[in-house]
Symmetry: C3
Subunit: 407 residues, 3 copies
């Protein structure tokens, strides 16, 4: 069976992270969301995987997309960006698909079981994820106990606690239904519209699922996603741990990672491959050091995701924050993670102040950012990719991509 | 024998500490000045202890006064604030006192021997403390070799090196003499005036004493007081000390305190109960961590008193300073403790710049203060209770109670 | 044989270091350039050493010059500053020199072999140092295969790869030639002019040499010089190293140095006598701690020369920098050592921006400087002797001698 992974979403709410990194490539421990999905497909012996990406990509996306070359079964297809939306992304594949196929959103954090369940259905099928807050999603109305009646976006009064899980098994007829629908009010061709049309004339089984399922929409959810996965992983030490290192609780240390004397690690924590930690660092619970990182002397990390190649070399405190790839924090750069009034920290998402629902939240720092020494960053701040923060600056507002910030 | 402890003083020179904490409750290691006195009384089998406090108290004082409830023999009496002074504070107790009684100022740092000596006198008696600088105190003029002639406040030419030690054994006649005196030039009814009158008609024995005696008048004297007591205490370890902790010299570690790997403690030092220290902290001589504190990673403390519930969690240096209860220093908050000219550090006391007589002195930080990250505090600064210091601010002047300081 | 060491040069390009320290006394590990030369002379049994210094010295030079009193064979002679130049410095010695004598520039980093080779010559002689870039020096034109024809300053087309090495064996006739030359275009009496004149009528052998030879002209070359010597020294531990200290690679620890628990030293590194390091310091390759230093808790040093009596006591990062004697860095003072554009760091040398040819270079800090807490110093900055840097200041321009800098 062929499998199509849709990875063309812009992920604007994940800005500034998506300025240099595709949404589907948000890190999960040492891997990424989409690589995780592909690994599941390979484990399930899906031999033919098409990943749909946008033609109109920031150049920085390429290095991530190229990473998929390590999977021999993956073929990458560029989407024509003049046609918008998830459904439109499928149309160019019509000629390649000659049977039932698996369709998956590439930015979903799931367990393998979600795909397995779909594959086990005898019908066209859709994943129905059991949630407590269906109102915030596309809710699945059901007929005849098990078949899709209609997907209703964010209904006031949800008919079920099952939501559209973004994983489907579909036959070729779906292309005909996509042909028939028009643009949605968002100006996009929406797959749910095609599915709703298909459901009126076909049986689409709703396959229930109640394990890990997350659409990482907002930057701080990257922390949540990693916590969730870290919680189910087991301790591992494939690195080099010097004498005089303290390790408490569950800690995963990958190949070629090296932990220097005097470092204190309180698990759960993840130390990615080729990372150098210490001496005298303090790594607290839910620190995710993705790989090829330098976490230096007298640095404290707490409940943060530090993406690949990023360095926090000297005398810094990073708590409850998300740092993209290839960031360098100058010595003594500190990130505040608590307001004086101890209210929930808010973050600007597409022009609107959104609560993170966290009393403790630090900063979101885009790819390739450099901060000078002694920089002070306030809670809830976003720093755009490639920004430069002048030494000693107090960052008390969001910083634009490429901006040179001097307070 | 009944005992009366006067604890109604305002302690304005201890501002901002007394904004939220009674003068008699200044900390001495894990205890307070007044609790120390009460413990001595209990050890001396004084079963009936009246503590006189002011009716007109900051609400924050209550939690301290309530702490006395743990002593079963203590009764708390509120003073009517319309009548002023130490003598006036006694009058409402006239009906309760029917014999000789012990009278003690509650804000004096003393040894048990001071009380014992008074108790051993056959007469009415007053503690005469031997000092080198009697001019600064109420000096005791003596007649017939052992009896009080007169207490003279701050005389140019002291008649003795004995000063009024603030501990007395008196019979009920004292109330009559209080009735007879008028207000002093300070507008208060002064106990010494009543004693002087009593001395003209009665024998009041001057009981000599030359051990620890301190009236903690100015904030930095809290450090001195604690040093004095720490110097005579013995090492103790009732806490948990991890491997890789270095302890040099005399260190007292109380119940449930925990010292994490890589912490270096140079005694004499006091680590109060329920405190968490480390990893990789540096605790230098005369650090007094009163109890329930968090002293964090890569933090250095030196010759400072850190009161209950206060946190210095990350990358700070606190030297020669006094931090009140429930303070939180943001990561990287540093306190300077040396002027460029290396002159003695001065502090504003009641509107006047007073030398601390210390070349090294840091800051005095009131209760419930929060500082942001990367805050810089200059030597001799006072920060009022509940103040908020903006991240990155340079605090170069005193900060008022509740002020939001942004440089 | 008598030996004359010329140590009267001003070393203006080494400003601000030479504001308080003679050029010849730039540190080499625990010694200085000139002391190193004198030690070689003593090893070679030269019993009569005259060191020529300027009469017109900053008062701070005296303590350095007095250090030479420990060498029993050394006599110090003050130069009359009304006559300028290296040659002029020699003339007052005419009456004392009655035979061939050794003449050496006191600010040259050399090996003993350089002097030995000169001593072995049968003729008047000059050291010819083999270099790759002769154009930048005084090039030796040679006649009859081994004798000096002429010294040509910075020629476009060098006739050889041998340059004037600043070490000579000369007979008394040199004084006559100095008499005959006039002032050079620099307004000084130049020794090479006298040598050129002498060479026309006498045989001056060019003695070849290809080992360590460095004229430390610019501040960052002090780092290079120390690296060079450290590279050939052997590990040594004459100090006290506590348990829980990590030492990797070649580290020299001198008498009475003490390294506290949790300190991590990555050699090659030099820890001078009476220095106190730690706890929890991070000493990285090519850290040169000259002697009597305090490197404190949670401090990181990398590829820097820290001269005598200088203190970096708390929470600092010092990378690729030169700190003169008796400097004190306030807690949390950080030195940046990398530009945002990662271009070579430039430094003002005599009014001109000169590249250090280093992508990583920090600051040059003059003697007796004090920085406040939380000070930020940018790459390539020079801070003049005795300057005071206000707490929290961002030093983004050179600071003058004695200046009080507040940003």
């Amino acid at each position: 069976m062929k499998s199509v992974i849709l990875a063309a979403g812009k992920g604007e709410r994940l800005d500034p992270l998506t300025q240099t990194r595709p949404k589907a490539f948000m890190p999960i421990l040492g891997s990424t969301v989409i690589e995780r999905i592909i690994s599941f497909l390979e484990e399930l012996s899906i031999k033919d995987i098409i990943v749909v990406v946008s033609k109109d990509l920031p150049v920085e996306y390429n290095e991530f997309i190229y990473k998929l070359n390590k999977f021999s079964n993956v073929k990458i297809v560029m989407q024509d960006t003049r046609l918008y939306g998830t459904a439109a992304a499928l149309l160019p594949l019509r000629s390649e698909i000659n049977d039932s196929f698996l369709l998956i959103y590439g930015d979903l954090l799931i367990e393998k079981e979600a795909i397995e369940n779909i594959l086990n259905s005898e019908y066209n099928s859709i994943l129905g994820v059991e949630v407590n807050n269906p109102k915030d999603y596309g809710v699945l109305n059901i007929r005849d106990q098990k078949f899709l009646d209609k997907i209703v976006e964010k209904p006031e009064n949800p008919m079920s606690n099952l939501i559209n899980g973004g994983i489907y098994k579909l036959d070729q007829k779906i292309f005909d239904y996509i042909d028939k629908i028009g643009k949605s009010i968002r100006g996009e061709y929406e797959l749910p519209d095609a599915l709703n049309l298909m459901a009126t004339e076909n049986k689409i089984e709703v396959v229930k699922y109640n394990k890990t399922w997350m659409d990482i929409g907002k930057p701080w959810e990257i922390i949540d996603a990693n916590k969730k996965i870290l919680d189910v992983e087991k301790s591992k030490n494939n690195g080099e741990v010097e004498d005089g290192v303290v390790i408490k609780g569950k800690v995963i240390i990958e190949n070629n990672a090296k932990i220097l004397h005097g470092t204190y690690i309180e698990g759960p924590a993840y130390i990615g491959s080729n990372s150098l930690i210490g001496p005298n660092s303090y790594i607290r619970p839910y620190s995710i050091i993705c790989g090829n990182n330098r976490i230096g002397a007298s640095v404290e990390i707490k409940e943060s995701v530090i993406m690949e190649n990023t360095k926090v070399p000297h005398l810094s405190y990073v708590g409850d924050s998300v740092l993209a790839e290839d960031v360098n924090l100058g010595a003594g750069t500190l990130i505040a993670n608590l307001r004086f009034d101890e209210k929930e920290v808010k973050v600007n998402i597409k022009g609107e102040k959104i609560t993170t629902k966290r009393k403790k939240f630090g900063a979101i720092i885009g790819g390739h950012v450099r901060t000078g020494i002694n920089v002070t960053i306030l809670p809830g701040i976003k720093i755009g990719a490639y920004a430069r923060i002048y030494p000693g600056a107090i960052v008390n507002r969001d910083v634009q991509k490429g901006e040179f910030f001097k307070s």
